[in-house]
């Protein structure tokens, strides 16, 4: 069992849903990333998602594009992010780490070098936003050779047959994009999400995470009622942006933001369990 499987197994055992915060590596500046990751774990995160900054993040909204730009001022590249993961791993060998990024920086580093160095640094999964399964054969082989989980997105527009094909190559968990739009958009219907998650569950036994458009604890709680994991990105990155000039405040706000979500998700889990008994 790898770290991602172990974590989902542990969550299941404790009747808890996984909380997966996303931050952009190197935002607001490189020294902040490791303390932020530690803060997220303290706040109750189960899996950490680190964005590799890219100059043209077309699947992301303005909040994450701005985060990429802040990181790129410091020339944060993949190797720098892997150093951050290595440093994080000196204190935490259990929390899974997923890198999320765009293909071009990975391709310029080279698939093989990327996969080898990522696993050596302690990364567990890779989500490449603009690489569909059709173009990914060699990339996936490289990840699998290095025991890295390829994480795939499934969208509201993805049809049943395609969901099946994506789930065949997916490992770790699958990530359902809960709305039409980019990260940071703001309309979210829980009942729609529930229908789609059910369709995905018909195609795979992997855990299903849901992200895009989850802005606060209340939404996290509602989504926790229908998914195995809740991903929060833009709303968290917006907090980092708002408090970037006062690091101590920033860490405190981030910890509380995640802890709030944790509490809401745990409360929802208790309710679901009680509901199940009734």
């Amino acid at each position: 069992m790898n770290r991602i499987e172990r974590r989902f197994a542990a969550c299941r055992e404790h009747g808890r849903k996984a909380l997966i915060p996303y931050i952009t590596g190197g935002d607001p500046q490189p020294d902040a990333t490791v303390p932020l990751l530690q803060t997220l774990v303290e706040g109750g995160a189960d899996i950490l998602e680190i964005g590799i900054p890219f100059s043209d993040p077309m699947a992301d909204g303005q909040v994450i594009q701005a985060a990429c730009e802040r990181a790129l001022v410091h020339h944060v590249n993949i190797r720098r992010i892997l150093e951050m993961v290595r440093e994080f791993r000196t204190d935490d060998v259990h929390t899974p780490v997923v890198l999320m990024g765009y293909l071009n920086p990975i391709e310029q580093m080279g698939y093989a070098a990327f996969a080898q160095e990522a696993v050596a640094a302690g990364v567990d999964g890779i989500l490449c936003v603009d690489l569909p399964p059709e173009e990914s054969q060699f990339f996936v082989e490289m990840l699998q050779e290095n025991q890295l989980d390829p994480i795939w997105l499934i969208a509201p527009t993805t049809q049943a047959e395609r969901i099946r094909r994506i789930c065949e190559v997916a490992r770790g968990f699958v990530y359902y994009v809960s709305l039409k739009g980019v990260t940071g958009a703001d309309s979210l219907s829980v009942s729609d999400v529930a229908v789609h998650v059910a369709n995905i569950r018909a195609a795979t036994r992997l855990p299903v995470g849901v992200g895009f458009g989850i802005r606060d604890a209340a939404a996290a709680g509602r989504i926790a009622g229908v998914a195995d994991a809740v991903v929060v990105g833009s709303a968290l990155v917006a907090q980092i942006e708002a408090h970037q000039s006062e690091p101590e405040v920033m860490y405190a706000v981030v910890r509380e933001f995640i802890a709030d979500m944790r509490r809401a998700m745990d409360a929802a889990a208790v309710e679901t369990a009680l509901g199940g008994e009734r």
Binding site: F54, S55, D56, P57, M58, A59, G61, Q62, Q65, A66, E69, L72, H75, N77, I78, Y102, L103, N104, P105, I106, E107, Q108, M109, V129, D130, L131, P132, E134, E135, W152, L153, I154, A155, P156, T157, T158, Q159, R162, I166, V177, K180, G181, V182, A185
Partner: protein
């Protein structure tokens, strides 16, 4: 070249949109289904006689095709070499080749039941062409334009607004064309149900590079017929500027199998290739993935896209259509550059010699034609694509010469 003559250019791209190693479809999962829907609709309508007849009628009566192939005799004689013919895309309605493509895509959008058009624009020509067909078809229209381009192409911004389009200035990134593309993709992702994204050049995810090429090949088909009528033979060389590469591909494609016709694509050399302030990915870049396709890109060692520079907003783009990347690698087309200064000189030269004021984009092709012609003889023929007219650029030219209008 001799080992490559067996390539059947008509077979490209493959079903996945690949031109050799280039092209493809690299987009977030959300856009995979809409792209497939588009590819299917396009495959159906490109063979549909009623669709083709409607497009043809619009090209004749609305766009004003065929565009003339004009022999620039006085300019040619001044240069003292090859005879230069100009394909007058500047005479199209809205003043550039862009409308050949927007007309086709907008008719397709209407047939697909889409009610809202979005587009990116650099110089504003594609934005104006999109806003124009949107007005004609009664469709809602939103144009994304880099904030830097909004400033330097203010006349076109006003034209789009007059046509009823909403123009959104993009402040992210380098505030130019590439950022406008990012924003247009985001809009499409958020509004896939009712929205059609009209990409303005032969780039983007499959099927855009092939579809835009097909709509633009009207340029090359006409030019081929016209030069055969006028001269009884094919030209020795074709020359076109390359931003994303749509006017060049539209001219080149019907001549790809004619091995005797040399093809020259002209990138923006900006302040010169050495200093990095240019927009010449084919000359200086490496293959990578941006905006849905694999192609040559201007990027740094970490794979971050580099800022570009050109005097002409329409060439100010760090990528290039994947079919050009492939034609470069197989050696069928040659890619050269013209600097800001050379383009400016050609702008003035044509204006004074022929009374035709070219767009600064097209002036890059003319600068190359000038160089080529001088090394050729009067029995040789060059066809240069005059992709657009220069009215939109007179503020830029005046400012460079220290004048404020």
């Amino acid at each position: 070249m001799s080992s490559k003559v067996s390539i059947n250019y008509g077979e490209f791209p493959d079903a996945g949109g690949h031109f050799g190693r280039y092209g493809g479809r690299f987009v977030p999962e959300l856009l995979m289904a809409p792209l497939e829907e588009l590819a299917e609709a396009y495959a159906r309508y490109r063979e549909d006689p009623r669709f083709l007849a409607e497009l043809e009628a619009d090209l004749v009566h609305y766009v004003g095709r065929p565009s003339p192939l004009y022999y620039a005799q006085r300019w040619s004689e001044q240069l003292g070499g090859a005879r230069i013919y100009l394909k007058r895309e500047d005479l199209n309605h809205t003043g550039a080749h862009k409308i050949n493509n927007t007309m086709g895509q907008a008719l397709l959008a209407a047939r697909m039941g889409k009610t809202r058009l979005v587009a990116e624009t650099g110089a504003g020509q594609h934005g104006v062409a999109t806003a124009t067909v949107a007005a004609r078809l009664g469709l809602e229209c939103v144009i994304y334009m880099g904030a830097a381009d909004v400033q330097r192409q203010s006349v076109n911004v006003y034209r789009m607004r007059l046509l009823g389009a909403k123009v959104i200035a993009v402040e992210a990134g380098t505030r130019t064309l590439k950022d406008a593309l990012n924003e247009a993709f985001r809009d499409w992702a958020a509004n896939v149900d009712d929205t059609f994204y009209i990409i303005g050049t032969v780039a983007g995810p499959h099927p855009y590079p092939a579809m835009v090429r097909d709509f633009q090949t009207v340029i090359g088909h006409e030019a081929r017929r016209q030069i055969l009528e006028r001269e009884g033979r094919l030209p020795d060389a074709l020359v076109a500027c390359v931003g994303g590469g749509s006017n060049a591909m539209g001219l080149f494609h019907p001549f790809l199998a004619d091995a005797g016709v040399r093809l020259y694509g002209v990138e923006a050399g900006g302040e010169g290739l050495a200093g990095g302030r240019h927009a010449a990915p084919l000359a200086t870049g490496r293959p990578g993935v941006l905006h849905g396709n694999r192609t040559y890109l201007m990027e740094d060692a970490d794979g971050q896209i580099l800022p570009t520079h050109s005097i002409s907003a329409g060439l100010d783009y760090p990528g290039v259509g994947p079919e050009h990347a492939w034609l470069k690698d197989v050696g069928r087309a040659e890619y050269v550059d013209a600097t800001d200064q050379e383009a400016l000189a050609a702008f003035h030269a044509l204006t004074r010699a022929e009374g035709i004021m070219p767009a600064l984009e097209s002036a890059h092709a003319l600068a190359c034609a000038d160089r080529l012609a001088r090394e050729m003889t009067p029995d040789q023929i060059i066809v240069a694509n005059l992709s657009g007219r220069g009215d939109k650029d007179i503020n830029t030219v005046a400012a460079l010469e220290g004048m404020e209008l």
